[in-house]
Symmetry: C2
Subunit: 249 residues, 2 copies
């Protein structure tokens, strides 16, 4: 079976996943790119639909090998559906996992995001949290959707490797404190020494331009990364990464 028209209903449904509304209405989201799609499928995620551009025969062969059914589409249809300028010719619509907050948070490092606005940054933080063995990531209200295509691409599969929760951050921080977590956020006016922290610890990453909001900062120990050079001059994903690394030590 090959779909040759971008007006096909199935194609229109998949295109809608580029919008928050489309993702909410269907409970699906889009993953794109050869490596990401095969990694995610190999990790056991069952796709709703997989599309392969007719020119990408290697991706087709790989999916045959994994025994994953897919629909072949023309290059034109792939371009219409893809979220990228140069589609790699393979994408999948997969079920969005449940992101409601847990009744009890697991011990370990929990990474919280306060109003992160750039999907690339959000995905990169998920990837870093995964690399340093964080127990999970809370994406606070007012942040971009972790399942938008660009965030999923930047996370390089980590979206499916660590728990991602969505909730109201101040409420969750209060719950975490009551559960014995030590809570730290990066802050330009903070102290340059970290307090003694137990195994249960939280790092809050603030908005790219404005940092952590005052209501959230109230719940945190304010920590300033010791920088010998000029302050305020770290890229947001970089600052988040150094904080996650530091807190995972």
């Amino acid at each position: 079976m090959m779909i040759t028209s971008a007006k096909n209903d199935r194609i229109k449904d998949i295109k809608s996943l580029r919008t928050r509304k489309g993702r909410r209405d269907t409970g699906l989201h889009l993953i794109e790119g050869e490596r990401l799609v095969t990694d995610v499928l190999e990790s056991g995620v069952v796709p709703d639909t997989v599309l392969v551009a007719e020119w990408n025969t290697t991706a087709g062969a790989k999916l045959d090998e994994l025994d994953v059914p897919y629909i072949t589409v023309t290059g034109e249809v792939m371009k219409a559906v893809s979220d990228t300028d140069s589609p790699q010719g393979v994408l999948a619509a997969v079920k969005t996992p449940d992101t409601s907050v847990p009744e009890e948070y697991p011990a370990g490092l929990i990474v919280c995001l306060d109003r992160i606005q750039d999907p690339g940054n959000l995905g990169t933080v998920l990837r870093t949290a995964d690399a340093f063995g964080a127990a999970g990531v809370i994406v606070g209200e007012g942040s971009v959707d972790p399942f938008m295509p660009k965030a999923v691409r930047a996370a390089m599969g980590s979206t499916y490797h660590i728990p991602v929760w969505q909730g109201e951050l101040k409420t969750e921080l209060k719950r975490l404190r009551e559960a014995g977590f030590g809570i730290v956020c990066g802050h330009l006016e903070g102290a340059e020494d970290l307090p003694e922290l137990g195994e249960k610890r939280v790092i809050v990453i603030g908005n790219e331009a404005n940092g952590v909001s005052p209501e959230v900062a109230e719940e945190c120990f304010l920590y300033r990364l010791p920088m010998k050079g000029r302050a305020e001059s770290l890229n947001a994903a970089v600052a988040a990464a150094i904080l996650i690394y530091k807190l995972s030590e």
Copy 2:
């Protein structure tokens, strides 16, 4: 004076700065964006030419205040010259600093880049090196040009705050070793403990996909960032940042 045609010779010259050849032929490069241009001009860099889109009256007023002459252009001309999809309406052509390697390297942390391919990563690394007080950055042969517009944008002014040198990396590493520098690179097969390092230290950052090349790795102590989670899963600029942070401690 207002330029209304993208075919104007001055405009064509500035457009050429988006290419490596144009930058080499003129000895100039492009900086773009309101904050970056004003920061750089305030830091004392003297521009060859500044262009302001007629719609951006705040940028014009700011430049008048700084007593910097500029040429007003139409929005269309700005779009033709700009390297970005949504121009901020102000850009400058400035003299590219001399990047030849010094006779003697300053003491401190020197960051070396081995065949970095993404200009955004290169700029982000310059910014991080600046934030952690590095003494300078060597951009090795085979890396992208640190003066391409996207690299300059990602560096957020750091291009002008720390020395940037361009050279053949293996040669420079030998010189650095002879000068008493301890040389470390991030490597997936390295040791998880750093050796004792003096004040003179070098961190080598490898290519995004392939890491540090074998010829360069020969000159280095191979260090693997201790990661509790899954290996190989850090974004290149993030891995570089954590290494720079770690070595600047």
